[in-house]
């Protein structure tokens, strides 16, 4: 069923990772990514792995869910591994077959690259696992607030994002319904060549677009009726406030990031 696709796959919970301010989590993830890209030795990668494992434990997310998040990028991971393994020159040579070589540097680079991608994906996934999409957009709006001075429509962008997020499940449900209705009239959505398949989409796309526009229209009217007039002077129901735990988390994150940076420079 289409409905089983979840977006951002938020795991509701009440752990320290869930209670942190969403802005803190975005900043920590950014720090994590910076650290990840400056790591280049066994010690620094070990620190990154330890950080991730600790955070996953703290967030109480099942490890299986973390691994599942890697599935969509499996191809990229394998591709990177193969490319780096066979095409990196340097160091001791273990194996040669035509233009393919396996060298000491090659093995190391491949290992690190794969680790880097996996940690990157899992790190960002952990953020979406513990933060609802709506608080993420709130946090982004608040973090990007400074850009307003440069006439970037931050509020409008984040409002658009919240609305889009809000309507994704609705549209998926609607697509499901329209598909069933057309199947009931004998629409064949599976068989046929590419051309026939594309044509079979028309009975689904037309009603879907019509209803999406209708919904957008209704929503706009409803918002106007409630005096929505953009971000100017608008207050919030949920005001984001940094707590002590946020400062602590950011301090720890900052220290680790600097340490990894130094370790990376040293080549550890």
């Amino acid at each position: 069923m289409l409905k089983d696709i979840t977006l951002g796959q938020y795991f509701p919970g009440d752990t320290i990772a869930h209670r942190l301010d969403p802005r803190t989590k975005i900043l920590l993830t950014t720090l994590y990514i910076v650290a990840l890209f400056s790591a280049n030795g066994f010690v620094s990668y070990a620190v990154m792995i330890a950080c991730l494992i600790l955070s996953v434990r703290l967030a109480n997310v099942p490890p299986r869910a973390m691994v599942r998040g890697l599935r969509p990028v499996l191809f990229i991971i394998v591709f990177t591994a193969v490319l780096n393994l066979f095409f990196t020159p340097g160091g001791r040579e273990f194996f040669r077959w035509g233009f393919l070589t396996v060298t000491e540097t090659g093995i190391k680079t491949a290992l690190f690259m794969v680790l880097r991608i996996m940690l990157l994906i899992m790190g960002t996934f952990l953020m979406t696992y513990t933060t609802s999409p709506i608080s993420l957009t709130d946090a982004l709006e608040s973090l990007l607030n400074g850009l307003k001075r440069f006439r970037v429509p931050v509020h409008e962008l984040s409002m658009m994002m919240s609305i889009a997020l809000r309507f994704i499940p609705t549209l998926i449900e609607e697509t499901d319904k329209i598909m069933s209705a057309q199947k009931a009239r004998g629409a064949d959505l599976e068989g046929g060549n590419l051309m026939q398949r594309a044509k079979a989409m028309i009975p689904i796309l037309v009603p879907l677009f019509v209803s999406a526009f209708r919904r957008a229209d209704e929503l706009a009217t409803a918002m106007e009726c409630r005096c929505y007039h953009g971000g100017e002077g608008r207050t919030r129901l949920h005001v984001l406030r940094y707590q002590r735990r946020d400062y602590n988390a950011l301090a720890i994150g900052g220290v680790i990031c600097v340490c990894v940076f130094v370790l990376g420079r040293l080549g550890w």
Partner: protein, 288 residues
């Protein structure tokens, strides 16, 4: 009566293997006779829509079977489309499925999928339009220019045009005004009278069900609570009320009168019958 549809121990579970797992239909069995007009009623979320989507193979049973003319519809999954042509299903708010440039083409979508062509195609499209009360000149309009009620009729015609043996309607009159409701129901009644085809009507309105169907299925929390003719079902009005269901207005008044000690038989549920009973009681008690 020969039965056209047999539902045996049907269970449907949504989102199996997730924390959201739940049975929307649980161990439901019943039969539908050829030419019967069957009403299905139940509280919101009782599983009516889920149930009827099994009858034309849109959903596959988690457990149990659906037999059409004695054959399991999933015996040959490749041929499920033929089942959908024989069991026409009109969804709740079907007007949102219209997509063609003209009403005519939209009604023709089903029959064309069936492989009908030429004069045969033209005949079934025009027949269907006539059955739902669409005028000839409306056939060349864009479906998006029609009013809400006319759109509903066009969508209904799109299923009727496939000339199914069984017609299933999921709340066909929801969201229409009283006049639109009554004329649409009159069209459906006329279709049943003229063609003698089997109809399953899902509705929230007890009055609508009471006035039209031969037999009623009452669903409650994924199961069948009652199955019987309208007099049988409405004679258990108090039970229906305690199940959180609506009952016809006349039955409600009958209950109130009975509470006051008036002798009204339990099978009174239409306005006409109630009127007769009240007049009879008046004659007996107040000699004029």
């Amino acid at each position: 009566m020969e039965s056209i549809l047999q539902i045996r121990h049907l269970t449907h579970t949504y989102s199996i293997g997730t924390p959201f797992e739940r049975d929307a239909v649980r161990d439901v069995s019943f039969e539908v006779g050829r030419g019967e007009f069957l009403g299905i009623i139940g509280h919101t979320g009782s599983g009516k829509s889920t149930l009827i989507q099994h009858l034309n193979g849109l959903l596959r049973p988690t457990e149990g079977q659906v037999l059409l003319s004695g054959r399991d519809i999933w015996a040959e999954p490749k041929k499920i489309r033929d089942v959908r042509f024989r069991v026409g299903l009109v969804f709740q708010y079907p007007e949102y499925q219209l997509f063609e440039e003209t009403v005519y083409k939209d009604i023709a979508f089903g029959p064309v999928n069936q492989g009908r062509q030429g004069a045969e195609l033209d005949r079934c499209v025009r027949d269907a339009a006539r059955l739902v009360g669409l005028r000839e000149d409306q056939l060349d309009k864009s479906p998006f220019e029609l009013s809400g009620g006319q759109k509903r009729r066009a969508a209904l015609a799109g299923v009727l045009a496939m000339e199914p043996d069984v017609l299933i309607l999921d709340e066909p009159t929801a969201g229409l005004d009283p006049v639109g409701r009554e004329t649409l129901m009159e069209n459906i009644r006329a279709y049943h009278r003229e063609q003698g085809k089997t109809i399953l009507l899902v509705s929230h309105s007890m009055d609508e069900i009471a006035r039209n169907v031969d037999r009623i299925l009452v669903m409650k929390s994924a199961r069948i609570l009652m199955d019987g003719t309208p007099p049988e079902v409405f004679s258990r009005s108090e039970e229906l009320l305690s199940a959180g269901l609506d009952i016809p207005h006349a039955a409600r008044i009958a209950i109130a009168l009975r509470r006051r000690g008036l002798d009204i038989p339990p099978d009174v549920y239409t306005v006409d019958a109630l009127e007769r009973e009240i007049l009879r009681l008046r004659k007996e008690t107040v000699p004029c």
